[in-house]
Symmetry: C3
Subunit: 276 residues, 3 copies
Amino acid sequence: MNDSSQLKSEILEQVIEAWNQLQAQQPLVHCITNSVAANYVANILLAAGASPAMIDNPFEAESFAKISGAISINTGTPTTEQAQAMKITAQTCSNHNKPWVLDPVGYGTILAWRSQTVDELVKFNPTVIRGNASEISTLAGNQVQSKGVDSTLNSADVYLQANVLLQQTDCVAISGESDFIVAKDIPAIIQINGGSFLQPKLTATGCALGALIAAYCAVSKPSIAAIAAHIHFAIAGKLAFEKATSVGSFGVSFLDEIYTMNAEKLKNYADIEIIQ
Amino acid sequence: MNDSSQLKSEILEQVIEAWNQLQAQQPLVHCITNSVAANYVANILLAAGASPAMIDNPFEAESFAKISGAISINTGTPTTEQAQAMKITAQTCSNHNKPWVLDPVGYGTILAWRSQTVDELVKFNPTVIRGNASEISTLAGNQVQSKGVDSTLNSADVYLQANVLLQQTDCVAISGESDFIVAKDIPAIIQINGGSFLQPKLTATGCALGALIAAYCAVSKPSIAAIAAHIHFAIAGKLAFEKATSVGSFGVSFLDEIYTMNAEKLKNYADIEIIQ
Amino acid sequence: MNDSSQLKSEILEQVIEAWNQLQAQQPLVHCITNSVAANYVANILLAAGASPAMIDNPFEAESFAKISGAISINTGTPTTEQAQAMKITAQTCSNHNKPWVLDPVGYGTILAWRSQTVDELVKFNPTVIRGNASEISTLAGNQVQSKGVDSTLNSADVYLQANVLLQQTDCVAISGESDFIVAKDIPAIIQINGGSFLQPKLTATGCALGALIAAYCAVSKPSIAAIAAHIHFAIAGKLAFEKATSVGSFGVSFLDEIYTMNAEKLKNYADIEIIQ
C-alpha cells in the first residue's frame, strides 16, 4: 500500500467512526442561518443524527452557544439582530473552545455589510470555513466577480488559494462539482467526488452542508468532520439520483438517503482522492 | 358501557364534528411562529382545512388578531419585533375573547429572554398551552435540564404536573411518544397514541401541531380542539409510516395524510385512553 | 386565421422564446420575500432555470439591486428592516431601469402598515404588479373585504378593474382559478387556464409565481414575462396533478414539472384565451 492509499484508508476509517459517534451522541448543533435554509438545514441535521436548534437573537446567543456541541454560522440573509448574535456567538465559541463553522454566504465586494461582518467573525478563528469557490477565493484575498450567492469559479481552480486561510482556521472546505478539503493536520488536499448535478438545483444544500460539518465537529476533529460531512452528502446525492431524476423528487430522496446512511454505504461509496 | 368508554365515545364524536367544522368553516388561523417552521406550518394548516396567515410585525398585530378565527403564538426564533407582536396579539386575544394557543418553544433557564416573554404571555391566559415534556414541566415550576429545544423528559412522567397550569389556561397538551391532554372541562386525562417514531425526525412537527390546535380552537371548545389536533396528527403519522419509512418520503406522505383525513379514518384509527 | 388566433400564436411563440432565454441566460433574480415563502421561491426559481438570491437587509439593497437581472418584492411578512430594503430596492430599480415585480401580499385596510409601504412602492412604477383578486381590486381603489392573505373575490370578476393600474405599471397579473393578464402593449386581456385545485393548497405558490414573473422579466418584455410565468405554472400544475392527487406528493411533482418544462410541453399544453 502506498502513502496515498494508506492515508485514504485511515481517513475513511475515521469518517465511519465520526458517523457512528454522530448517531450515538446526537449532539446539539446550534445554527444561525438564513431564512431560505432554516427549515431544510434542521431537517438535514435531524436526518443525519444531530439535534438542531436555531437561535438567532443576540439576547440568548451567549448562553446558548455555551451549551451547544457545535455551532454553524451562515451569513445568507443577515439582519441587524442576527449579525449581533453571530458576533456574540463567535466570541463565546472562541472563549469556551467550542467548535464552530463559518459559511460566509455572499462574501464579496457587492455585499459589503455582511462581508464586513464576516471579516469580524474570522478574527474569532472559526474551526472550519466552508464555502463555494467564489467565496473562498475572495476570502483568501483574491478579486472575484460574483453572481449573487452562486459561485462563478470552479472548486478545482481555487483550492490552492485556501492555504492562506489556515492562519485563521483549522480547515477549509470548498464545495463544487468535486469538493476539496484543506486542513492543517492533513499533509495533502482531499478531493471528494460524487453527488449529483441536481444538488445545486436544490436551494440551501450548501448551507445544510455547513451545518452538517458543524454536527460532525461536535464528535470528531475538524478535518475529519469536514470530510465526513462532504462524503455523507456526496453519497446521498449519488444514491438519490439513482431513484429520482427531477429536482422535487430528488430533494425527497436526498433527505431519505441522508437518513439511511450507514457504515456499509460509507465504505462502499466514498470516493476520495489524495492530492499530494 | 362503563364511564371510560362512554367518555371516550363522546369525545370521539366531538372530534369528528370538530373536523367537519374545520372543513366547512376554513377559519383564518393567524400564526406568529419561527423561521424554521413557517412554511411547514402553513402547509399543514392548508392541508388540514384551515386558512393560515403569518403576520409577525407589531404594527399590524392588533388589527389582524381581531379578524382571525384563532391565533397560534410560538417562541421558536423570536426577534425584538416579533416578541412585541406576540405581546400585542396576546393582549388583543384576551380583550376580544379570541382563542389562542401558546407554544413556549425553548422555555427554560438557558433561554432567558424568550422565557421572560413567555411569562408575560401566560398572564394573558392562553386558551391552550402546548409543548413538549421539558417545556411544560418547566412552565409548571419544575427544574428541568434542557437540551436545546428538544425534550429531555417523557410526556408520561410529566402530565400530572400540568394541572397547576390550569390556573392560567383551559387546557394543556403535552406531546411525546404518547400525547397527554389535561383540560378543565374533562374529568380525566386523555392519552393519545399513534404517530410514528419518524415524526420527531421532521423539524417543526410540534410547531405545526400547536398551529393545528389553534385551527380547531376556531371551530370547537379548547379541550376537543387539542384532542382533535393530536388525533389528526397521530393518525396521519401512523398511516404515513405505512407508506414511507425514510424521513424525506415520510414527510411527503404525512402531508398527504393530513389532507386526506376523513370521518371514517378518525373513527377507525383514533387511539385514545382515559386516565381517571 | 382570425385576429385572436393570430395573437395567440404570436404570444405562444414569444413565451417559448422567453423560456429558452431563461435557460440560456440563467439570470440572477433577487427576491425580497416573506419567511413562509423564501425556501420554496428559491427552489421554484432554480427549477425554472433562474439563479435566485434573497437579500433583504437595507444595507446591501442598493448594490445588490444594481447587479440583479430582475427583482421581486413581496410584502408577505415585512419587518422594519425589510420594508426599508424594499423601498431602497424599488428606488434603485427605478433609477437604473431594472425590471421588478411587486406582489402586494395582504394589501387592504386591515393590514395598514404594509399597505402604506405598498403605496410608496407603487410610486416607483413596478414593471409588473401581480396579486390575487382581492389585492388587485383593492389596489385599483375598490373596497374589498379580505380574509387574511387569501382572496375573497374571483379573478374573473376583477380583471376589468386592473386597467386603472396601467398608469403605474406595464402589466397587471391576477391569479385565481383562471389567471388574467392585462398589459399596456397587448390590445386584449389574456386569460390563462390550467393548473390544479391543489395549487392554492400549497402555501407560497402565489409568491413563487411573482418571483417567476421577475425571472422572465430578466429575459423578455413584461407582458410576455407575466404570461410565460403563468403558463409555466399552469402546465406544471396540470401535469403534476396527473401524477399526484394529495397535497404533499403534488408539491413534489409540481417542482418536478417546473424543472422538466420544455418547448414541446409549452406548445402542447398552453391554454390561453384572448378576451377582446
